[in-house]
Symmetry: C2
Subunit: 347 residues, 2 copies
DNA sequence: CTGAAAGCGCTTACAG
DNA sequence: CTGAAAGCGCTTACAG
């Protein structure tokens, strides 16, 4: 097979240099804006070059620059689709904080249960300088260590991971979920239901993907009210399913008196489902969510939930760029940003 | 236990070649899997090389390969955050269909009202070979033409754009929205409210961002029932706001008899809000959504909405890869995948 | 069957 | 103030 057929050649700095009658070095200095110590080019030269750029429609070739500079000026946020307010805020801050240093952001949305997706190529092949791995994303610890060893700057939101050339943000989710269960127990609930994410029930042994489920199950057992398997149902992913599953639970014999949903969204649907069946919340059914999204504070009754009190990732995101820009490899660091129990009216 | 920061040099193919006692050409042939016409390397050589790769922890450097190959084997999906089932399905198909040709996908989630975000660097500087620009994303027509002229393969979901070196998928949204308004008029509604996306009210003159609003307003005026400005409110973006705004509309003097929400999500919240005020749907308030998400078919009453009957983007996504892999530049093509009015019970 | 060598498009230390 | 030249890490036509 012959070389990629050049339909129409894309102009390079060499073409710009030729058109402007200067060397490629001059073009590069002008375009990169890095004069370093040298005195600047004359305004006339600069104008000629910029004019040639315009006329030829020149666009920088990233691969050439990245190869030479040994950095891509690009970071990646890895998360599981669909996104959520948490991820939206994270990407926003990654964009904003990185913009000052000339960094752009791309996203790598993964899907359920892809253990080592080919998508990780983007991280493995130095396509980006750094990555933030969002909470609940399935990337192996070994792989993270290898990526870090390969020079990628990595910050991972994970509750059970040792820093190993990368940084870890511990959300202390288990402690907050344990507190929620203890709270429900104190309110007299012994039949607690759980509206799970599909992935939790598909891989109940996976410590990352089933963290919420496991934490709640363990806390319930420890608090003397083990979860009845019949009260653990899927449906937190989609509104209609959350609604239907809740109604099924309530219509069955021996229904739960309290229901925890893996998502605030599902919890709100559960409240709706209960009301439509004529049950009061929290009187007949206490409902709690997980995530502390803004919806939870707006509905009536206010949603009792567990999550971050404020969506502010300045510390870990700043750390990411600090790691990227550091002249030498930084040791792994652990940060903590604990989830909290937020009690409102629904439970 | 402090980490050991190994400021170690990242191994290259040269290192692998040295360790295995072969040339870099051999390493490259083995790793890229492209033997082309040449006969394959001996199993012994291959094993030695792979062993060296393993031992050194070698990882391909993408920039080197991309520079040489003049292609990145990467495509980008551009859309506005937050994502939605539509975008989720699109990314899924871009991933799946591209995998066969060795392509990976990255995402470029934009935010409201960024006219020419620095994020576009990813498209401009040849970070990727191709891009799909999702419906409602704010990228200028000029910029698209320039990107296409620069060799980027682009497929844009847009209803009012001429193909110009890139392909356009026309969803015919305006026609479907006009049909929805006509349908409501036939059912006797003359006071039609609109629950808008924030961005629509912020930039009502923007043809892309306010397409839904404008289409509905124009259709209503043409059908002899111009929208009352007091019945046009924001809130389709967030559940709690959709709920509150709907209740405000219903509590005010001269409330709407029909409400169209810019999102199915907002429409469902509107139904909830109406019920909580003791109004029946569609009796007291007809409610229609936009988007045809799966939630709409699951709730009671079923949601009348407008959108794609099926979430299948095989045709445009296949076209994207066809364009990328074509030996020469393909002319722009227009594709049509029309939205439809889906009548259920809510209106 | 394998290796030496050119070159993709940039950047930058260095010479002029 | 500007240019010639080396080299980043790959791939591949070509020679051996």
């Amino acid at each position: 097979m012959p070389d990629k057929p050049p339909a129409r050649k894309v102009p390079t700095q060499r073409d710009v240099a030729a058109a402007a009658g200067v060397s490629t070095a001059t073009v590069s200095y002008i375009l990169s804006g890095r004069r370093d110590r040298t005195t600047p080019v004359t305004p006339e030269t600069r104008a000629r070059v910029l004019h040639a750029v315009e006329r030829l429609g020149y666009r920088l070739n990233h691969s050439g620059r990245a190869l030479r500079r040994r950095s891509t000026e690009l970071v990646c946020v890895v998360y599981r689709m669909p996104d959520n307010p948490w991820v939206e805020r994270l990407t926003e801050q990654v964009q904003q904080i990185g913009a000052d240093s000339g960094y752009s952001m791309i996203a790598l949305p993964l899907r359920d249960r892809q253990p080592d997706p080919p998508a990780l190529r983007v991280l493995q092949e130095r396509y980006v300088d750094g990555a933030v791995v969002a909470n609940g994303t399935l990337v192996e610890a070994d792989e993270l260590a290898r990526l870090a060893a390969g020079g990628l700057s990595v910050v991972v939101f994970h509750d059970d991971l040792e820093p190993d050339g990368f940084d870890v943000v511990d959300l202390a989710q288990r402690a907050a979920l344990t507190e929620l269960v203890a709270y429900l127990r104190r309110r007299g609930h012994s039949r607690i239901g759980y509206l799970a994410h599909d992935v939790e029930l598909a891989a109940p042994d996976d410590a990352v993907q089933s963290l919420k489920y496991r934490s709640i199950a363990e806390a319930a057992a420890a608090a003397g009210a083990p979860l009845d398997p019949r009260l653990v149902v899927p449906g937190a992913d989609q509104r209609d399913r959350a609604y239907r599953e809740t109604q099924r639970l309530l219509a069955a014999d021996n229904p739960p008196t309290a229901l925890i949903s893996a998502s605030d969204r599902g919890a709100i649907d559960a409240i709706w489902a209960a009301r439509d069946l004529g049950r009061s919340v929290p009187g007949d059914l206490a409902v709690a969510g997980i995530g502390n999204t803004s919806e939870g504070s707006a509905i009536r009754p206010g949603l009792t939930t567990v999550g971050l009190p404020r969506l502010d990732f300045t510390v870990p995101v700043t750390r990411l760029y600090e790691r990227i820009l550091a002249p030498e490899r930084l040791p792994g660091r652990r940060m903590t940003q604990p989830w909290q129990l937020i009690v409102r009216e629904s439970a």
